[in-house]
């Protein structure tokens, strides 16, 4: 399958570059071990049950956070994208809240919901809502007016317009938002585990091995795993998207 081959070419190229940089002494090996070493560590880690538990904890938190974000952002985006006055009225609050970094909110979230998995889920939801929300609002602004008129002339009421025209039209772009959010949510979950600590999780693992000092290979192995998970998630979503939105590929519709 040539596409898979091309996929691998990119990844392998990057790892070779990294290896070369370390081997040539461009970067000190103690701080940035070469991928050959990191990959060995990665494989080792993957056979440890404790580590796998960390990974699973992270993945579960991620999945929950993403689902919640979709549940919040898609309807909200549809409503805000459709109702101009509501969009205007909430813009100040939304634009004000959005750039507040989730890391800045960590201490507050810890205080309010405690340091359990709820904290990382809450923060991940907070961060993952925006890409979906914004892509939804944008996509709605792009609907072909003729299409909207058509639906209205068919006796479609506002709510139905939302579900039967706005949603399918926006779906491909919202899906891009979901893909971005999936990455963001994973980042935040791992980051919160890393910055704020957790009972288990990939971020916690990275924190533990990094705070002990010189285990950069394990730190990077953890990071590589985070990246790999992200890659797999993205790949899965992309394939789903291609299948779901064949019509979009074929027409490339914009107005």
């Amino acid at each position: 399958m040539p596409k898979l081959l091309r996929n691998l070419t990119g990844l392998i190229g990057f790892f070779l570059l990294w290896e070369a940089a370390v081997r040539s002494g461009l970067v000190p090996e103690v701080f940035l071990p070469p991928p050959s070493e990191v990959l060995v560590t990665t494989v080792e880690l993957l056979s440890q049950e404790l580590f796998l538990r960390d990974v699973i904890a992270t993945l579960l938190a991620w999945a929950i956070a993403l689902l919640i974000s979709i549940g919040i952002a898609v309807p909200l985006g549809l409503v805000l994208g459709n109702v101009a006055w509501l969009r205007a009225a909430t813009r100040a609050i939304v634009e004000f809240l959005r750039p507040i970094p989730s890391v800045a909110l960590i201490p507050l979230v810890l205080l309010v919901v405690g340091g359990g998995p709820e904290a990382k889920i809450a923060l991940a939801v907070y961060a993952a809502v925006w890409p979906i929300l914004f892509n939804a609002i944008y996509a709605l602004g792009e609907i072909d007016p003729v299409l909207l008129d058509t639906a209205r002339a068919c006796g479609t009421n506002r709510r139905q317009l939302l579900t039967s025209v706005a949603l399918p039209h926006a779906a491909p772009f919202v899906f891009t938002g979901i893909r971005m959010s999936a990455a963001v949510a994973l980042i935040v979950v791992v980051s919160v585990e890393y910055v704020a600590g957790a009972a288990s999780g990939l971020g916690k693992f990275i924190l533990e091995v990094s705070s002990s000092g010189m285990r950069m290979d394990q730190v990077l192995a953890g990071t590589v795993i985070a990246g790999l998970i992200g890659y797999l998630i993205n790949e899965g979503l992309e394939r789903t998207g291609k299948r779901l939105f064949r019509w979009n590929e074929a027409t490339g519709r914009t107005t």
């Binding site: 008129d149 019509w247 074929a250 027409t251």
Partner: protein, 276 residues
């Protein structure tokens, strides 16, 4: 049934405003099929949009069954001029046709069947499972006609619905439309550029002036209700009427028969060539 009075529509505001429709008044009886002809860009589509309640008129009013139209009225269907943009690309052809039935209390089975019938009627049996972008232009246009018919509207607005189909199909569709009008007692407003078509199809022909649209003439077509593509088009009355419409379009409503100038001659060019 439909009463348009003092209708004005202006696009934009201030200096760059463009008046598309000016002081338009007419009414259409229930069950009537009125054709609208007028030069390109005169404001026909704008008029239809106002009637459909899709854009609010700047001045004047549209009344349907004595109620002022403010939103989109019930029991209405529109065939847009921009047919390819008015089909939902994510729905199959059949689902597109079913679309207006979704909100009606119609069982799934019947919905599918009605869509199928409508597609058959426009000569598109067998493409129901395709997507609109897999169809040719004329087929897409017929899908949007089928969609309008499937909803069995009381008022049907059609904006150049047959522009992209071949002559034969066009004749078939014209006859289909008159049949639907008779059987379902629909009121139909149809914009066309084809003078013959307007006379053949219509119970009335409204001739609009060039931009901004206002009514030049409101012609009653006194042809028999039962029409035939050959016989009707051959009849002397038909030929006379189409000459009249053509003359009116040229802005010579006053003195019929005195057609002298170049422009007029061009239009009424070949009375012998009418498809009989």
């Amino acid at each position: 049934m439909l009463e348009v009075s003092g209708l004005n529509h202006r696009y934009g505001q201030g200096e760059r405003a463009h008046v598309a429709v000016r002081e338009l008044s007419f009414s259409v009886e229930a069950g009537e099929l009125a054709c609208i002809v007028g030069p390109s860009g005169c404001g026909k589509s704008t008029l239809l949009r106002c009637i459909a309640g899709l854009i609010p008129p700047t001045e004047g009013s549209v009344r349907l069954h004595d109620d002022e139209v403010t939103g989109v009225p019930d029991d209405l269907a529109v065939v847009f001029q921009d047919y390819s943009r008015s089909l939902f690309p994510w729905l199959t052809v059949a689902k597109n046709v079913e679309f207006p039935l979704r909100w009606k209390k119609i069982g799934k089975r019947e919905r599918a069947q009605r869509a199928q019938e409508a597609l058959d009627a426009v000569g598109l049996a067998g493409v129901g499972t395709k997507f609109p972008w897999q169809l040719s232009g004329g087929m897409q246009q017929r899908v949007s006609i089928a969609r309008a018919l499937a909803s069995r509207p009381a008022l049907l607005l059609m904006d150049e619905p047959f522009a992209s189909v071949d002559a034969q199909t066009r004749f078939d569709l014209e006859d289909l439309l008159r049949r639907v009008q008779r059987e379902q007692q629909s009121t139909i407003l149809l914009v066309t550029h084809d003078i013959d078509e307007s006379v053949y199809l219509g119970d009335r022909v409204l001739v609009l002036s060039s931009s901004p649209a206002s009514i030049v003439a409101d012609l009653t077509i006194d042809l028999p209700a039962d029409r035939d593509q050959i016989a009707t088009r051959e009849s002397a009355r038909f030929v006379a009427l189409r000459g009249e419409v053509a003359r009116l379009l040229q802005g010579k409503q006053g003195q019929p028969g005195t057609a002298t100038d170049e422009a007029e001659r061009e239009l009424t060019a070949s009375p012998g060539d009418v498809p009989h």
